[in-house]
């Protein structure tokens, strides 16, 4: 299958939102990092713990071992536009504050159970927020389409609601994990050189997905 068809199909599957892949369609603002838009070693440690809570170590490695914290900072720095960068940076603090509120101390001091309880609640919040956002985006897309159909009208400047920071973190965790060496080699059946194609291959519950080099 051509890559272009694959991207189209992913769009069909997910209704236009490629999980962990919104950078594929992100618009360009400024590549310069504004104030408060850089990451420290502590930030990476913090993001590692967030990622580990989303994807903990089981029979396969956890997100921390797959260096997902580091990955998140690279993607936010280089691939996110300014609006997404701001949402992410602000979000780290919001997450820590929410932990303070729920458990009486910051995320780094929280127990694994406390961390999970917090992130489960944030996941629910982010999903609710996501519904509102997709409604908003739909309306904006329609407005843009209608106005831009008229060649004489000024081009419509589409508004975009911020992405929820936890949606960003969750998407980056999933993508970062499954595209990492450690994650792919322990959580999937990594087949870099299958050598053949079998279109009718037996499967039983519990068998892992096949992944490739790419």
């Amino acid at each position: 299958m051509n890559r272009r068809e694959l991207i189209q199909m992913i769009a069909v599957v997910t209704g236009g939102v490629v999980i962990g892949g919104e950078f594929l369609v992100a618009g360009c603002k400024s590549p310069d990092a504004g104030p408060g838009m850089t990451f420290t070693e502590n930030d990476i440690a913090f993001l590692d713990e967030v990622a580990e809570t989303i994807f903990p170590k089981t029979t396969s490695v956890g997100a921390k071992e797959a260096k997902v914290g580091q990955y998140m900072t690279v993607m936010v720095n280089d691939c996110y536009d300014e609006q997404d960068q701001k949402a992410f940076h602000t979000g780290m603090k919001t997450l820590d504050d929410a932990c303070q509120k729920m458990h009486g101390h910051g995320f780094m001091k929280a127990t694994p159970e406390q961390r999970k309880a917090l992130l489960v609640s944030l996941d629910t919040e982010a999903k609710e927020y996501g519904k509102k956002k997709s409604e908003f985006d739909k309306v904006e897309n329609e407005k843009e389409k209608t106005q831009n159909a008229n060649a004489n009208a000024t081009k419509y400047e589409k508004q975009r609601m911020d992405n929820h920071y936890f949606t960003q973190m969750k998407q980056l965790t999933i993508a970062g994990y499954f595209t990492s060496k450690e994650g792919r080699q322990s959580a999937t059946r990594y087949e870099p050189v299958p050598g053949k194609y079998i279109g009718d291959y037996d499967y039983k519950k519990g068998d892992k997905i096949f992944t490739s080099l790419s």
Binding site: R4, Q8, V12, D78, F178, T188, D200, G206, F210, L213
Partner: protein, 563 residues
């Protein structure tokens, strides 16, 4: 003139068409030089990313904001990515202008887009060559299916096309290598479509230029390993490219010289003999202007660039360039319009999966306006798609975070099926490209301005492209079928065609039935520029066949003293 500048034949461009021209001309005994505007790119050695796993890319293959800024046009679609960015021409060095939006995705390096192509390979059918004449569209083709049939076989035997024998009038069989398999869901959907439409519609394996069994004429190539890495260049030589196929064959003759970094700026036309003497180039690295001389010139620089060379040639005689006397040079630009289709869910098959990463999907050949069908538009479309199990990127609504989510995403999800339609675009006289002398590229050469759009016929067709697939999928038992239609701009198909069309009459076409420029018989144009109409199938196989046919003709004419 210096000896090392003089050849029997010059081939401009090293992509699919240029590679074929070089192979056929040298194998028929002509001392040939192949000029490529981009840099050298050596088979296997320069496929530096062909074994690189995703985690070794800093952004895991994605695109950065810096890339988006550097490639304002490439960013419009999938070619802007971290994996094979170096295979796509730079928007900054090689700009073009747009009276109407046109997405022009080019490969300026040895091998051109033969390295990045989709590899889908289909013959045209008889109807494709007849339609213009029957319907009074544009101008009739000067050749028919029978003129090219044996040339299809000739190129297929060497290029290696895997596919299944189907005996369909709308999609003639090629000389095939063993077909790749449809997966179990695709097979069942195919059977249901066939039964529901009483054999009038079919779903078959997508035919591609991949080696699935040894090719005696091309022993260097190895079988496809199903790695899902085609776009980086294949170290096994499993898919057809200039590097894997035509270039080694041409080099073996000892008659080919390859000259990268040579931007051909014009054909040198001799008023006395009314023939081309050769070509003038700009060295892309030194800006030095140099001339090469030959008895025949093959323009295979990619559709719009071959026309660009003609537009810049012999302007003292024809202000609009060599081949412009008919008024058709630069007109009738085409692409395939697509980005419309449908997808849905497949119930069951939980105990089935597939092994290996197949480099093709399924194909549903055209059924509209064919064999008695009649719509409120003319021509037709085909579909390309696949059925697969959802991967780790899927949404699992019922799960939040934690071990459950991680374990769930480590297993395949439900089956889905989806496809995209590729539709024929008519050749409209006012869909044009022209020189824009106000804008210059890195070498001070004028750029192209694009003025191409889809019109009513294509817009009507797009309704069927969407709705027909929904109906077919539903008839085949697919659940929750969604249709989609994304923005399409001409060029996105990366199937540029036309602008120097073939025809029967010098008054309304640029090339004759042997791809010779009417106004200058020793110049041949055999890439997408020559197309008189577009069909709805992927065009590359037809360029291969037309090029091989024209090369054989050119050598015969040379021998007869006619050129």
């Amino acid at each position: 003139m210096a000896d090392n500048n003089t050849f029997d034949a010059i081939v401009v461009g090293s992509g699919i068409s240029g590679g074929w021209a070089a192979k056929e001309l040298t194998q028929r005994g002509l001392k040939t030089i192949m000029l490529e505007r981009g840099g050298e790119l050596v088979h296997i050695k320069d496929y530096e990313k062909s074994n690189r796993p995703v985690w070794e890319y800093p952004h895991r293959g994605g695109r950065t904001q810096q890339m988006i800024e550097d490639y304002p046009k490439l960013k419009r679609d999938y070619p802007l990515n971290e994996r094979n960015l170096h295979y796509w021409a730079s928007d900054k060095d090689c700009p073009y202008t747009e009276t109407k939006r046109f997405d022009w995705f080019r490969g300026y390096h040895m091998g051109g887009r033969s390295l990045m192509w989709g590899r889908q390979s289909y013959r045209w059918c008889e109807e494709d060559f007849l339609a213009n004449e029957k319907e009074g569209i544009a101008t009739p083709w000067p050749i028919n299916y029978n003129d090219i049939k044996d040339w299809y076989t000739h190129v297929e035997k060497f290029a290696g096309i895997q596919g299944s024998y189907e005996n369909l009038a709308v999609l003639p069989d090629s000389h095939f290598l063993p077909a790749m398999d449809l997966n179990i869901v695709e097979k069942d959907v195919a059977a249901r479509i066939k039964a529901h439409y009483k054999n009038q519609r079919t779903l078959i394996i997508g035919r591609t230029a991949h080696v699935t069994a040894p090719i005696p004429e091309s022993p260097e190539r190895n079988k496809c390993q199903y790695r899902d890495m085609c776009w980086n260049g294949c170290p096994y030589g499993a898919y057809f490219s200039t590097q894997s196929s035509t270039l080694p064959a041409a080099m073996k003759t000892g008659l080919l010289t390859v000259r990268p970094d040579a931007i051909v700026k014009e054909v040198i036309y001799d008023k006395e003999t009314k023939k081309a003497k050769g070509v003038r180039i700009v060295d892309a690295l030194t800006n030095e202007v140099k001339e090469y001389y030959a008895k025949v010139v093959f323009l295979c620089a990619s559709a719009f660039n071959s026309t660009w060379v003609l537009m810049n040639s012999a302007t003292d005689i024809w202000p609009d360039g060599l081949g412009s006397s008919s008024g058709e040079l630069g007109h009738n630009a085409m692409d395939h319009h697509f980005r419309v289709g449908a997808g849905g869910e497949i119930e069951g098959y939980e105990d089935k999966y597939y092994f290996g990463h197949r480099p093709t999907g399924f194909y549903i050949p055209r059924f509209r306006n064919f064999a008695g069908d009649k719509r409120d538009y003319i021509r037709g479309f085909g579909y390309q798609g696949a059925a697969s199990r959802n991967g780790w990127g899927r949404e699992v609504k019922e799960l939040s975070i934690g071990a459950e989510l991680k374990d769930a995403l480590s297993e395949p999800g439900d089956w889905r099926i989806g496809a995209t339609a590729f539709g024929e675009m008519l050749p409209y006289h006012d869909n044009t490209i022209k020189l824009n002398k106000d804008v210059k590229d890195k070498w001070g050469l004028p750029v192209l301005d694009m003025n191409v759009e889809i019109k009513d016929n294509e817009k009507k067709m797009r309704v069927d492209m969407k709705e027909d697939l929904k109906e077919m999928f539903e008839a085949a038992g697919v659940k929750n079928v969604n249709t989609f239609e994304s923005d399409y701009a001409p060029g996105m198909g990366i199937h540029e065609m036309g602008t120097a069309r073939m025809g029967r009459d010098a008054k309304n076409s640029v090339l004759n039935g042997n791809n010779q420029v009417w106004d200058c018989k020793n110049v041949f144009v055999t890439d997408g520029a020559c197309m008189t109409s577009a069909s709805c199938v992927n065009p590359s196989l037809t360029y291969m066949a037309l090029t091989a046919r024209a090369a054989a003709f050119a050598v015969d004419e040379l021998k007869k003293g006619n050129l």
